[in-house]
Symmetry: C2
Subunit: 116 residues, 2 copies
């Protein structure tokens, strides 16, 4: 599922019970031209900038991190976290590359609960 087809499906699902989710109206609320959103949804142009993707995510009640990933991007915020301690995070990420989801979740929980 590409970025474009994903947001198109999401928008059409929302339009099911709310006609204000037409392409034109969503584009207006997001702050871009309807023709541009149309091309984005059909994958005719590259996905928008991070800022625009965030506004689309908010409008469609989607996870920004997920939409950004579908657009082939990683949020600038996460990049900054990595860049503060590049080798530590580089090694950690490479280490976790093949770890199963539940292992990642366990680490998240452990760190959150602060038991270390």
């Amino acid at each position: 599922m590409t970025f474009g087809s994903h947001i198109r499906e999401r928008r059409e699902a929302l339009r099911g019970d709310d006609p204000s989710f037409s392409l034109r109206q969503v584009a207006q609320r997001v702050g871009i031209e309807p023709a541009y959103l149309s091309k984005v949804e059909r994958g005719q142009v590259a996905p928008p900038s991070e800022a625009t993707i965030r506004r689309i995510a908010a409008e469609l009640s989607e996870e920004p991190d997920l939409l950004l990933a579908m657009a082939g991007k990683v949020s600038r915020e996460l990049q900054e976290i990595i860049m503060r301690r590049p080798q530590l995070f580089a090694e950690l990420l490479r280490q976790l590359r093949r770890a199963p989801d539940h292992a990642l979740l366990r680490i998240v929980r452990e760190v959150r609960d602060g038991d270390w």
Copy 2:
């Protein structure tokens, strides 16, 4: 310390006992114009592309991840790791944002040793 001044100092240090680390010769081995390397080292232009930074790192025996971070970038390789499971890694990174170095190291070791 900026990206430019850092690689300049590194290069000049190496030139101390090996004159083949002149700006021109390094530029040639890296595969870029001397004038361009000069401007990069003095911060007169933005840092090079990831590929060029990697070749500079190899030439100067520096850590690519570190130089990339100094250039305000995160390697495409790490970004791909994140994009495979965006929300999991997003939450993990935000969680680890304020964690001390030794905590990160502990996790790296734990994952490497596979004790889970």
